[in-house]
């Protein structure tokens, strides 16, 4: 039989994913239509929404996306930060991060964690991040490479949720496009669009821990090419704990609501 007759409706992935996860998937489908974002999706969430055990996973992703979203907004708004020719690149990235925040908050509905505030200097390590383009690009690289590894680390948790898994992968590859582009803007000549070994710049080392591995599926892939390519050809996952440890200096948790005064 020819390949073209395999899936008669031509869009099996989507249809099937929808069938598999019911309400949640309908919610995702609605979210992919900007016109219906809002009332329809909130109603859907009220009826079911994200499985309880995945709320944490999505809130973890939401925190990362909020960090990125606010970071680019701050950079584009900072009068003293001259992004020059790269401005159009960061505007595109910023638009995507905003869209990711919208998508995740829509999915989570009332289960969305309260938004933290952020310190983009990371407690001072990146003190001139909103005035020095080089520092801004460096931290953008760190956040994007981190985002790629963070989503990758949650794939196993999402595996049996076809719609959510596919949504996460589709965000994940956009983060990878961002990462490659930001790396092309790097002032470090040694920085390629892909990650070589665990090479880092500035204070980003935790973002690249473990990227140097050359064993994949139990096979030493260095036998298939040169040593650099063997590490570049695969981006490695990070655990949630590793990701949270890196972003901890940038995140100021949302304040707990004040306890009610006793009367």
């Amino acid at each position: 039989m020819t390949s073209t007759t395999m899936f008669p409706d031509g869009d099996l992935t989507r249809r099937d994913a929808l069938l598999r996860t019911g309400r949640l998937a309908r919610l995702l489908a609605a979210a992919s239509l900007p016109v219906t974002l809002g009332v329809a999706t909130r109603r859907a969430h009220a009826q079911g929404g994200v499985p309880e055990e995945l709320v944490d996973v999505l809130n973890f992703a939401l925190t990362l996306e909020r960090l990125e979203d606010e970071f680019y907004k701050a950079g584009l708004a900072a009068g003293g930060l001259n992004l020059g020719d790269a401005r159009a690149v960061f505007e595109q990235i910023s638009a995507h991060e905003t869209a990711h925040v919208t998508l995740l908050t829509t999915l989570l509905g009332e289960a969305a964690a309260p938004a933290p505030t952020f310190d983009f200097t990371g407690g001072g390590a990146f003190g001139n991040v909103l005035s020095n383009p080089g520092t801004f690009i460096t931290l953008a690289q760190g956040f994007e490479d981190l985002g790629v590894r963070a989503y990758k680390g949650q794939l196993a948790a999402l595996q049996r949720q076809a719609a959510l898994l596919t949504a996460a992968l589709r965000i994940h590859s956009v983060e990878a496009r961002h990462a490659a582009m930001v790396r092309r803007l790097s002032q470090s000549a040694a920085t390629k669009p892909w990650v070589t070994g665990n090479a880092s710049i500035a204070d980003l080392q935790p973002v690249y821990e473990g990227e140097e591995v050359t064993t994949q599926l139990g096979v030493d892939v260095a036998q298939f090419g040169n040593a650099d390519a063997a590490t570049e050809a695969f981006d490695e996952p990070l655990t949630r704990e590793q990701v949270e440890a890196f972003i901890e200096p940038f995140v100021i948790p949302a304040e707990e609501p004040p306890p009610e005064e006793e009367t």
């Binding site: 039989m1 390949s3 073209t4 007759t5 395999m6 899936f7 031509g10 869009d11 099996l12 992935t13 099937d16 979210a31 992919s32 900007p34 020719d85 159009a88 690149v89 505007e91 595109q92 990235i93 638009a95 995507h96 991060e97 990711h100 919208t102 998508l103 790629v148 990758k152 794939l155 196993a156 595996q159 076809a162 596919t166 992968l169 589709r170 965000i171 994940h172 590859s173 956009v174 990878a176 496009r177 961002h178 490659a180 582009m181 092309r184 669009p193 892909w194 599926l217 096979v219 892939v221 298939f224 090419g225 040169n226 390519a229 570049e232 050809a233 695969f234 981006d235 490695e236 996952p237």
Partner: protein, 333 residues
């Protein structure tokens, strides 16, 4: 008559067929245990008369591949159309058309069948004239289309099938960059050469890892035809590279949920972000410092990259891979 029936019964038993014996207007069904349903209803009538060319038939394929022997088997039949079981006729074959052969005198097998063959070298249509004792047999001349055999590559089932799908994509990508680098377009920059070289190295590693993971169930090395790509043109090379990288990203994004083994899912996750990095770089070579690296043509309003079904991807792959894939056994949910 009884002796005849016993003889035919033995024939039927020997050939494991259910045979209807007709004799003197009476039909007797002789059934043997190991009956072959394909031959159900086949009649054997005995004894037969002399061979009648006008009733004699030949087995000639409707299509045949070039450079392989094309076999022609002639069955002599009597005036009632019943097979003759003795030899002695002169059977001649003449081929005209795309190929010219003959006259070929068919080998007499002595049992009423005659065989010959020729090896067509030229693709096209051949006309095969078969005569018995200088008279054309039934159906002569036969028309044969000489063309390469249409085969499909079965991807297989389960995770093996899905990894074969990925293996096909990685074969395609690796071959593409090898072609780019073997005859670079005029004016290629050192940066472009480095990008193509590094991507090629990544794709080769991906290809070999996936092949190794699939093991004995791996599909063969594909025949890939890049004739549609003008490798002397920078624009054409970058456009093809961009579509291949975007295709790889969307293919993996669209198929990952079908994987059963979580290690395979994680491996695909490790590959797909590198393919996305490739796509971004190629796109930035096409339109530097613009939103193109993650353009609105691949990233939707929710900030999500494209995804494609297996059938959509294989349709695109067919631009470069003439052999069709059989994806019918891949998991669908």
């Amino acid at each position: 008559m009884w002796d005849e029936l016993q003889f035919l019964s033995r024939v039927a038993r020997a050939t494991s067929r259910r045979t209807f014996l007709q004799w003197s207007g009476m039909t007797i069904a002789v059934t043997v245990a190991a009956c072959d349903d394909d031959d159900e209803g086949g009649d054997v009538t005995a004894p037969t008369g002399e061979a009648d060319p006008a009733q004699s038939t030949a087995e000639v394929p409707a299509t045949a591949p070039p450079t392989e022997p094309l076999n022609i088997t002639v069955q002599a039949r009597d005036s009632a159309g019943n097979p003759v079981t003795v030899g002695g006729e002169e059977v001649i074959v003449n081929v005209t058309g795309a190929n010219t052969e003959g006259p070929l005198e068919a080998i007499d097998n002595g049992d009423g069948t005659y065989e010959t063959s020729y090896t067509p070298l030229v693709e096209g249509q051949d006309s095969i004239a078969v005569t018995m004792n200088d008279v054309a047999i039934s159906g002569s001349p036969f028309t044969v289309t000489i063309a390469p055999t249409e085969t499909t590559i079965p991807l297989g089932r389960g995770d093996t099938g899905l990894f074969n799908y990925v293996y096909a994509l990685e074969q395609l990508s690796a071959a593409f960059y090898s072609s780019v680098l073997s005859a670079p377009y005029a004016g290629i920059t050192p940066e472009e050469t480095q990008v193509f070289t590094e991507i090629r190295d990544h794709e080769v590693i991906h290809r070999e890892l996936i092949k190794s993971a699939v093991g004995a169930g791996a599909i063969p090395e594909l025949t890939i035809d890049f004739a549609s790509v003008d490798f002397t043109s920078r624009d054409a090379v970058l456009a093809a590279a961009q579509s291949l990288e975007d295709l790889g990203v969307s293919a993996l994004n669209g198929a990952a949920y079908l994987l059963d083994d979580v290690e395979f899912l994680e491996a695909v996750g490790k590959l797909v972000s590198v393919e996305a990095r490739h796509a971004a770089v190629i796109r930035d070579l096409v339109a530097p410092l613009t939103p193109a690296f993650a353009g609105d043509d691949v990233v939707d309003a929710n900030g999500q990259d494209a995804y494609r079904t297996v059938s959509q991807v294989l349709q695109d792959v067919s631009t470069y891979v003439p052999t069709a894939f059989d994806a019918s056994q891949l998991p669908r949910t």
